[in-house]
Amino acid sequence: MTESQPAVSMENISIEFPGVKALDGVSFRMFPGEVHSLLGENGAGKSTLIKALTGVYRIDSGVITLAGEEVSFHSTAEAQAAGVSTVYQEVNLLTNLTVAENIMLGREPRRFGFIDWRATRARAAELLAKLHLDIDPNSRLGSHSLAVQQLVAIARATDIHARVLILDEPTSSLDADEVQELFRIIRELKADGVAILFVSHFLDQVYDISDRLTVLRNGKLVGEYLTDELLRIELVQKMIGKELTVLEDLERKTKQQTVDEHELTPYVRAIGLGRKGSIEPLDLDVYEGEVVGLAGLLGSGRTELARILSGVDRADAGSLEIDGEAKRIRTPRQSIRDRIIYSSENRREEGIVDELTVRDNIVLALQADRGWFRPIPKKRQDELAESYIQALNIRPANPDALLKNLSGGNQQKVLLARWLAIAPRLLILDEPTRGIDVGAKAEIQKLVSNLAENGMSVLYISAELEEVLRLSHRIAVMRDRRMVADIENDDLTSDTLLAIIADGATTEAVA
């Protein structure tokens, strides 16, 4: 690893969106002939950093230099012209045009001002051959699989005499063989002196291909490391971070009352439940009054499991028992009838209705459950809203406030109130504390703990390990779309949990 002049150097980059500091003084550099991985959980600022480098976003402060020269891109076209090309996660090509056109669009060789199609196709074929991709350049891109489209995107990127190649989650739609094929190509490009930025949430792949790592968390730089010198567990620790707990007592309480009634039938039992392309078949029991924590990195299959349990996605393997009875859940409506409630991590789009009032949001699920022909009397609506506003300490305490004017934490509380109003038996909370302030976080955790005490089952999904450890009686760990552990939370430490998340050690630590 020669510490030569960096191909890219970004110093003290800050980008602010209304109300959020997406990047806060982050520095980042890439060297020619090196693969550099950018790591961090959701919202850490990875994609913002990439978009700053590729000219999609303007930076508010900081300096970007390319091979020692200061640059300031105003569009992706400018960045490409300077040799920075990007392959995005969702293939951003044109399925209506041919493979050759997709590779060469905007750079077609011309003769007398007209596109020279023969030369265009020849050049495309040449690039495809370099990637050992045996497809007809004249075929329509849309007629190929996503994996092939992804490789075509890389062929396009390599033609723009790229000095810097950014691969944003390039492997998410590829199978193992295709990944190896891609890595071979990456190594060839690397040997040609291209600086490659590789973003992936598959840690195995990161360790397989990268020379250097940069970790971001909450828009801030955690550090830059050489891959060989950073253990996986250290990496995960740096990605997730540890926050000092202000809720020690809550933790103690949880531990004291660890449920010991497992001879009973579980409320919900999943047997070999799975869905192709989503999660591998897994078993999971959730008992009454139990909080089961679901841990794992982003993309490990946490949310996918929640969506299958609640009927948002349909399982294609295994079965589900509720109260010992086999049930088929095909739609969220059915799961709600069985009082399995899913509160999405995507609060804005799959949760709140931000144009409606607090009251309307709270009564929404109850009203839907009763059927629209039996409206809830206004008086009852007011009572409900009032009682939940008080019970959950929703601010402002005004049932007529529009939800869009509430803070994230209060929106989350309203969302909880909506589900509590229909008395769930299993409440699946997906990242209920993401993006909300510390005070509201504590309140929501306290609420979860109280609910479980009163007999409700909770499946608690969070990227914050401390939170999961504090609340859960039992913790299931997901890794690469597989459940790798299902353990009692007795004297589990965050370090043990980190080890399982990072290495997937299927140590069945039975209580």
């Binding site: 992706t76 076209a77 044109l94 077609e108 011309r110 596109i115 075929s139 007629s143």
Partner: protein, 338 residues
């Protein structure tokens, strides 16, 4: 293409497979269907009506629809990007009004015609800028332009202004003989010339390829570093220019300017483009397909004229039915392939 990969069991099966591939290809399928339809209509016409096989019938198709071909060319550019231009009929009318009134005022045609083309291109530019930079729906922006242009017609004059200028009359009446008893007008030459230019631009220039790219996916186009903004504005300029040119041709054809002229022509142009196989969502289609579309519309009219027993409103009914069939066909094809 699957047919080329599958081991050829028999030449017939391979040919059938290839034919099926072509038909279900969203790029060629609808155009092929349109071409077959056009040939079919001619066969029906030739078998039922005397004189239908006269080559002049075909020449007249071009003569009567030269202005519509020009409109359809501009409309093809717009629809390929996934947009729509409702203003073309009104802009055409406005052009005839400008031509007729300025000729009446004694301006020379050599100034008037370029002036019209510049004016309508500028209107297209304004519409394009509105659509791209203010993110206004093309439907609304061009609807506004339509009302504006139609209103301006009345500002110029409420009554018909006839054109007596010798140059215009000469251009209207000149016949260019192609063979004995077969002739076309200068307008046809102009329209065909425009079609050729449009084909070259769409298929042999980066501008043209960007038009297809925007129709495929505007966001991808931006990320691929294509000049999306410029191109998106430019297609409305092209459509404005074509509307102006169509207006000039229309004034040769009618030798008058009238505020109420060509009402609903924008819909004919859209129908021609769609029947010609261009996907309303953008990304697929050919200018030549649009020309076929215009010819189909024209042939329906000719068939009804030859029949003599049907009122001309049957034209509309047939066009409506055809349009429906083609939209459904597009849906089926795109659903199959993507």
């Amino acid at each position: 293409m699957t047919a080329t990969v599958v081991t050829p069991s028999s030449p017939i099966a391979t040919a059938a497979g290839r034919a099926r591939d072509w038909l279900t290809n969203p790029k060629y399928g609808p155009v092929i269907v349109t071409a077959v339809l056009l040939v079919g209509m001619f066969v029906v016409g030739a078998s039922r009506y005397r004189g239908f096989t006269n080559p002049q019938v075909i020449a007249n198709l071009f003569i009567d629809n030269a202005y519509l071909i020009v409109l359809a060319v501009g409309m093809t550019f717009v629809i390929l990007t996934g947009g729509i231009d409702l203003s073309v009929g009104a802009v055409l009318a406005m052009s005839t009004m400008i031509a007729a009134s300025l000729l009446q005022a004694g301006w020379p045609p050599a100034i008037i015609i370029p002036l019209i083309l510049v004016a309508t291109s500028l209107l297209g530019l304004a519409v394009g800028l509105m659509i791209h930079y203010f993110q206004i729906q093309p439907f609304i922006a061009t609807l506004a332009a339509m009302f504006l242009a139609r209103g301006l017609c009345y500002v110029i004059s409420k009554t018909t202004i006839s054109i007596t200028d010798p140059v215009f009359i000469a251009l209207a009446q000149t016949r260019i003989p192609l063979a004995p008893r077969l002739s076309i007008t200068p307008s046809v030459i102009l329209a065909i010339g425009l079609v050729i230019v449009a084909v070259v631009v769409l298929h042999y220039s980066r501008l043209g390829r960007t038009v297809y790219a925007i129709g495929g996916s505007e966001a991808s186009g931006v990320l691929m570093g294509l000049p999306v903004a410029r191109t998106k504005v430019l297609v409305y300029v092209i459509s404005g220019f074509c509307s102006g040119l169509a207006g000039v041709l229309y004034s040769f054809y009618t030798l008058s300017g009238y505020a109420l002229t060509a009402i609903g022509t924008e819909l004919d142009a859209i129908a021609a483009v769609v029947i010609g196989g261009t996907l309303l969502a953008g990304g697929y289609g050919f200018v030549l397909g649009s020309v076929l579309g215009v010819l189909v519309l024209g042939t329906i009219q000719t068939l009804i004229t030859f029949d003599g027993n049907l009122t001309s409103w049957w034209t509309r009914i047939f066009i409506g039915a055809l349009l429906l069939v083609f939209i459904v066909l597009q849906k089926v094809l795109t659903a199959r392939r993507t």
